[in-house]
């Protein structure tokens, strides 16, 4: 112990800064319990309090559509939506089965009969709408990435290009999807005129609106990543005398991948958020349209169904973000 003691000027002995070791008692079991409580117990407790507050508070709010639904009502509606999906699928199956049977019958009576195949025209179920939303957001996200990454690379490589693009980035970045949508609608309607089948116009409008709002984080992060490559690595590229394309694809792109993926992750989050608004207005048959239709519908179940949608949007957004984190980890070479 004496080596831990230092004399102060009055000659008194005081303890040094070194801490004592634990007093021999095994703290292991306690440690584990504490960790479990922190990582699992607290979130569960917080969630329980939220549910309780929700069910207590909801009952006291009277809306024009009845009382605000509590957790039980929302849970019940989630079950109903799930059931409706399978009922609808059953109807669809039945429809196609009948159609096939009828066609076979008519063919048997008259071999010259032209077989008619009609599409089932039932309304899309909640699960169909989720899938439409996911496809729309991915389409918008891919378009955004295909535009943002190359422009970001050019901006990062060349200061002049960066200065040229900067005002556009600064001005268009904060624009809301609701402002873009009317413009996009008019332009798509004017340009995309093929009516016979193909891709739905409302899908294109939603996807383009998503990309217009979500390309900025990727663009900015890519430019940042490219312009901040280690000077030594640039020197290696110069010493090896790499050509422009090799330089971009073998040096610039890999070394800025971590930041590009950070940008992509933010972009996907923004895209998912923007998607709901643009689907509402463009009437793309996804989650946004579901919420809007339920709102217009105004049945006693509507509010509970909208709450199901809110929770679905939240959970899916969370899952998308986790997927991007996983992707980001696979490209991160500086572990």
């Amino acid at each position: 112990m004496s080596d831990r003691m230092i004399k102060n000027k009055k000659g008194q002995v005081s303890l040094g800064a070194t801490a004592f070791p634990p007093n021999g008692l095994s703290l292991k079991a306690g440690d584990i319990l504490l960790k479990l409580w922190v990582s699992l117990g607290i979130p569960v407790a917080a969630f329980s309090i939220f549910i309780w507050l929700w069910s207590a508070g909801a009952a006291s709010v009277q809306t024009s559509l009845g009382t605000l639904p509590g957790p039980q009502a929302v849970f019940a509606q989630a079950g109903t939506l799930w059931q409706e999906h399978w009922e609808e699928k059953g109807k669809e199956k039945e429809f196609y089965f009948k159609q096939r049977e009828q066609n076979a019958q008519k063919l048997a009576q008259d071999p010259a009969y032209q077989v008619k195949a009609r599409k089932y025209t039932g309304k899309p179920t909640y699960l169909d709408q989720i899938i439409t939303s996911l496809i729309t957001v991915f389409t918008g996200f891919v378009i955004a990435s295909l535009v943002a990454i190359p422009i970001g690379i050019l901006c990062g490589l060349n200061r002049i290009i960066m200065i040229a693009f900067n005002p556009f980035i600064q001005i268009f970045k904060p624009v809301s999807p609701l402002a873009w949508l009317p413009l996009v609608t008019m332009i798509v309607s004017a340009v995309y005129t093929t009516q016979n089948g193909g891709i739905e116009k409302c899908f294109i409008i939603s996807a383009i609106t998503v990309s217009l709002c979500s390309l900025w984080p990727t663009l900015i992060n890519t430019a940042q990543g490219v312009s901040s490559i280690d000077k030594d690595i640039i020197n290696v590229s110069r010493v090896l005398n790499l050509g422009w394309f090799t330089h971009v694809f073998k040096i610039v792109l890999p070394s800025s991948l971590p930041l590009i993926f950070t940008g992509l992750r933010i972009s996907l989050g923004v895209g998912w958020m923007v998607l709901i608004a643009s689907e509402m207005l463009a009437q793309n048959p996804g989650l946004g349209k579901f919420v809007w239709d339920e709102f217009q519908n105004g049945s006693s179940n509507s509010l509970a169904r909208i709450m199901v949608a809110v929770l679905t949007i939240g959970v899916l957004g969370f899952i998308l973000d986790r997927l991007m984190v996983l992707l980001q980890k696979t490209v991160n070479f500086q572990k």
Partner: protein
């Protein structure tokens, strides 16, 4: 005409928004013959890296000219392999990938099989075949620097520029790599310019040692030819009178020239103040 010639080369950096010129190198003259091993020794901050960047073509001189086989050096080229102090490997490529990138660039017309063979040959030369698929982050400092050496050599350059390649390594690794560089040089007989701050390293490896006087406006000092027979053995050198003499001469020169430039000398005896550490406790605060 010498293999490499630097004639009256000067370089200065413009620093800050005020645009003040900071001279780094001034009036550098150097002639290097083919197959020669030159060591340039100097203190840190004396402009060694600037000098090698100029020869590599990463920088262009403000005045004077650099001639390689009579042709002016204006940009980097595959005829000059560079090994940087901090390895500068590409972290997303394996050992193989790093060397292969250089091979692919240096011999674009080769078949993939030939490029592959060349890559493996030089990884083997630096004894890294067992680590061929590893990534730089999985390698020690010494191994990383070997990869950098293999990458530079695999391009089959006419000359090799080593910018303090071993100064970031521990003493043991450093000694091993010095021996290996000598062996490789004996085998390949490339023209080498080694920048170092280690006089012993220079004596062990080089034919000539040229001190770089401390900057700003650094100039080259008088050259010291090293006539010790090769291969040089570290242990034997320690007892060699000529070695001791040349070593003392160079160190003396470097110490002198630093004193001249910096305008200070360390006094013979430094008197350390007689202090006892105080410990701040609540008592001492009250008192």
């Amino acid at each position: 005409m010498a293999f490499l010639e630097l004639n009256n080369v000067s370089k200065s950096y413009v620093s800050g928004p005020g645009g003040k010129r900071l001279p780094v190198l001034e009036n550098i003259n150097l002639k290097v013959e083919e197959g020669e091993f030159i060591a340039i020794v100097g203190f840190s901050g004396s402009g060694k890296t600037t000098l090698i960047s100029l020869i590599a073509g990463l920088l262009n001189p403000d005045e004077g000219e650099i001639l390689l086989r009579g042709q002016p050096v204006l940009s980097p080229g595959p005829d000059r392999g560079v090994v940087f102090q901090n390895y500068s490997l590409l972290p997303w490529l394996s050992v193989y990938g790093n060397v292969r990138l250089a091979v692919g660039k240096a011999f674009p017309s080769w078949l993939p099989r030939q490029k592959d063979r060349q890559t493996h040959k030089f990884i083997d030369l630096v004894k890294l075949t067992p680590a061929v698929a590893k990534y730089p982050r999985e390698l020690s400092g010494g191994m990383r620097q070997r990869v950098a050496v293999a990458r530079a050599l695999a391009m089959n350059p006419q000359m090799l520029l080593l910018d303090e390649p071993l100064s970031a390594l521990d003493a043991l690794t450093r000694a091993t790599l010095q021996d290996e560089i000598e062996k490789i040089w004996e085998k390949e007989r490339k023209t080498v310019i080694l920048i170092t701050n280690d006089v012993d390293e220079g004596i062990l490896l080089a034919d000539r040692i040229i001190p770089l006087n401390p900057g700003p406006s650094a100039t080259l000092g008088p050259e010291f030819p090293i006539t010790l027979p090769r291969p040089r053995n570290r242990q034997q050198l320690n007892h060699d009178a000529r070695y001791k003499m040349i070593r003392n001469q160079i160190i003396e020169y470097l110490m002198d020239v630093r004193g001249d430039v910096a305008g200070f000398r360390v006094p013979e005896d430094l008197v350390l103040p007689d202090l006892e550490p105080r410990y701040v406790s609540s008592d001492s605060l009250k008192g």
